[in-house]
């Protein structure tokens, strides 16, 4: 199939030219460095774009214009903000545990970067392709919470402390649901690797494949993912009207920037995992039998599909965030332990039955199987 816009062509050309001109060790070294730089750049650029998009969309939800001063339609606003945050003084606070205070933002950002590395952005656009991709993502993203807890504790501020404790309780609870929702799909696809999952969704996305059960898992994943990122109605750890800024009250300058960046990227990561696991990842929409249509769809590059689908989910997350009031801590835990978790457990059971009884769409209509 013709895929002229794919980055794969460019990358394989780069690889072969490098291999032709120098020994393998140096080729690998250069490629590692290139990949790392590309990931870091993507991380920063995505954050900037997300912050701008969030502010603009939020404004539209709220009958406002949003940023419109720096550049046309304010598109340079977040770049200006980045410069501002870089130039800001990092305020030294008395009576804090300085080592932990400085370490905390790094935990946040390292955790989200590690997760970021494992996401398949397009066809062959993987930094790492673990065969336990799903497990890896859940494991690594759980490191971020340590950053929050340390930040709250080391700030020596009671508001920060309360924020951190809330965050801890929230994260530990909702990670369960998120994990179970992903496990439901692991049951469906029989693999933990992202690339295999995507390959299996060529004609039938997982969200359709396991119909009822998948859709429930999808919704639960979105809710708990949303909660894990401390956003929207679940922003208790930084509840502005209660705790001023929660665990990062005392942070300024770049340190605050790290928290801020990590928060936005976590939103992106959750959306992209949901895309990969439920919505076919970078796979274009294809209908078995309609080769002409499929050809046209393949013409659109895979990373465009990926970012398109992720964008829709991010919009959904913004929409939810700006529509609801904040939950209280006991409501939050009620939602998890009384609703999401039991539903999730039942859901896994349903999924197992669906798979064993051959009731998934691909079983019922073999034409949909890849």
């Amino acid at each position: 199939m013709l895929q002229p816009l794919e980055l794969t062509n460019l990358l394989s050309w780069l690889d072969t030219t490098l291999r032709d001109s120098m020994p393998v060790f140096w080729v690998l070294l250069i490629e590692f460095v290139l990949v790392a730089v590309a990931l870091l750049a993507a991380y920063a650029i995505l954050a900037i774009i997300l912050i701008y998009a969030e502010r603009k969309i939020t404004a539209f939800f709220q009958a406002r214009f949003g940023p419109n001063r720096v550049g046309i339609y304010g598109i340079l606003q977040s770049i200006a903000d980045v410069i501002k945050i870089l130039l800001k003084e990092i305020i030294r606070i008395n009576n804090v545990d300085r080592f932990l205070f400085f370490a905390a933002p790094f935990f946040m950002i390292v955790a989200s970067m590690l997760t970021f590395g494992a996401i398949p952005f397009g066809k062959m656009l993987h930094a790492i392709d673990f065969n336990i991709g799903v497990l890896y993502v859940t494991a690594v993203s759980s490191l971020g919470i340590i950053g929050v807890l340390l930040a709250g504790w080391s700030s020596n501020n009671k508001y920060s402390m309360i924020g951190a404790m809330r965050s801890g309780a929230q994260f530990v609870s909702y990670e369960l649901s998120a994990g179970f929702a992903l496990m439901t799909i692991v049951v469906l696809t029989g693999t933990m690797s992202f690339s295999e999952m995507i390959a299996k969704q060529e004609f039938c996305w997982n969200i359709f494949n396991g119909h009822i059960s998948s859709i429930i898992a999808f919704v639960i994943y979105l809710i708990s993912g949303h909660a894990e990122t401390n956003r929207g109605p679940f922003d208790l750890p930084e509840a502005e009207s209660e705790l001023t800024a929660g665990y990062h009250t005392e942070y300024s300058g770049l340190q605050f920037g790290f928290f801020y960046l990590a928060e936005y990227l976590n939103m992106f990561i959750i959306a992209s995992i949901a895309t990969t696991v439920f919505l076919g990842g970078w796979m274009p929409i294809q209908i078995p039998g309609l080769d002409g249509f499929n050809q046209v769809m393949w013409y659109i590059p895979s990373y465009a599909w990926f970012f398109g689908k992720t964008g829709v989910l991010i919009f959904l997350s913004l929409w939810v965030r700006w529509s609801f009031p904040r939950l209280r801590i006991d409501q939050l835990l009620n939602l998890e332990w009384k609703y999401l978790l039991p539903i999730n457990l039942v859901n896994i059971l349903i999924m197992v039955i669906l798979v064993l009884a051959g009731l998934t769409l691909t079983d019922l209509f073999p034409v949909l199987a890849p």
């Binding site: 508001y159 309360i162 502005e240 209660e242 529509s323 009031p325 904040r326 939950l327």
Partner: protein, 543 residues
Amino acid sequence: MENIKKLILNTITDAVIEDKKILTVTVEPNKLHLLAKTLRDNAAMPFDFLVKLIGMDWGEKLGVIYLLASSTDLSKEIVLKTGTSDRENPLLYSVTDLFETAHFNEREVYALLGIRFINNPDMRKFFLNADWNGFPLRKDYDANPELNPLSLESVEMIDTAPRIMENADGKLIEETVNIFEADDYIINIGPQHPSTHGVMHFRTALNGEIVQKIDVHSGYIHRGIEKLSENLTYPQILHFTDRLDYLSANINRHALCMCVEKAAEIEVPDRAQYIRTIMDELNRIDSHLLAWACQTNDLGATTAFIYGMREREIILHIFEKTCGGRLIINQNVIGGVMFDIYNNFQKDVKEFIPYMREKLKEYDRFFTHNVIALGRMIGIGNLSKEDAISYAVTGPAGRGSGWSCDIRKHQPYSLYDKVDFKEIIRTEGDSYARYLNRLDEIEQSLHIIEQLIDNIPNGEILAKTKAIIKLPVGEYFQRIEACRGEFGVYIESRGDKTPYRMKFRSPSMALVSVMPLICKGEKISDFIGIGGSMDYVIPDIDR
């Protein structure tokens, strides 16, 4: 009222009863508590609502004036007076055990006049720091700034309160009590905090997320308006009223205008009455919209906050076109209104009414039935009717507890006896009842405006007044229904062009004073949410 008189004389034989507009009773300090108790427990007409507690410096005597009203019929009032001629160490008996609202008011009197109250459980100065020299509202107060220099030092908060208690054999004991236990986990909510709606300071003891005790510190923006008023003429004082509860600026100003007009016997023209009433109701909608918006914001719904502001902007625009002010609108003057309505006023208001109704429906869809919002409001911050009366919580909050306390119904002023509207009463007493009350009152205000807007008569908008307004000697009370509850003005005139004593009753002070009661045992998030539902305005407290 004759029965009441008999009752008073039966209880206190040497009480001096004056038959003024309001029955005025003067008693000795040691008999006041008994009299107040008798009046409060009087079954036929309980005088259980302490409207105002006014500290007075009569020159030769220091004392307190209590304006009591019956909670069943707010128009039945009694004034109690007591005083002591000991200016060095004035001691009076507290009525805090009868009316909880007296607690903060007595502390205020102590701060401003230096009268201490026996049996008040916490006799710290309200508004002022403990080390303030002098008592500002006394006539012999020395306002020399060198006595109270501005300090930039950080001062440690001392959580102990002095008090004077009377033991069983009538002996007075001075003692200090701890407000917090040594191992309490205390956080300072305020003075700078996004959800205290101003410069308010709650010292809050927490157990995990649960609020155990709240200690209210106020006075961060106290401006001494009552003291300033003593040197200003009545028209000049007017502009202060807008700055008390700035969200019901027009209504506060209306109250002072009415008080002066009543005292000076000025007849306000009909047209002015119509304009005043319409503006008051617009002001009420404006204030309730802001209250709604802030409450939603306190609960974390930023979008709803901006929607509320969007609708409020239309009213502010009408205000701006009418009288050139948006928040501080300067519309009422003694004898009428400062500006006539502009040409398209009626059209603008009539366009606003259906628009607002539609938006109210949108609010219902958006927030009122939202499952998260319900969970954060229903059953939270319960205030019983008895407590509401005892703490003198009026306005939408008081009516949310089932207490009919709308002055517009009980003591109609302006045109409120001519228009048809419902007093919104709910009996639940929780945050949600207060929330719904506000939205329903917006609807009622729209209804009132609808009845008036087409019938504004032609004519003068300002009565002819003397160039210099001097009020005859006497005491004048005026009560009015502001957005947050009952706003009151008290003027004691000695026949000058300036008042001898001016006192404003701020509804917000009662709302704040009840916070420690209803927040106890709630979560800290709910503390914020309850604050939003009470909707206090700090400058109103820090007069």
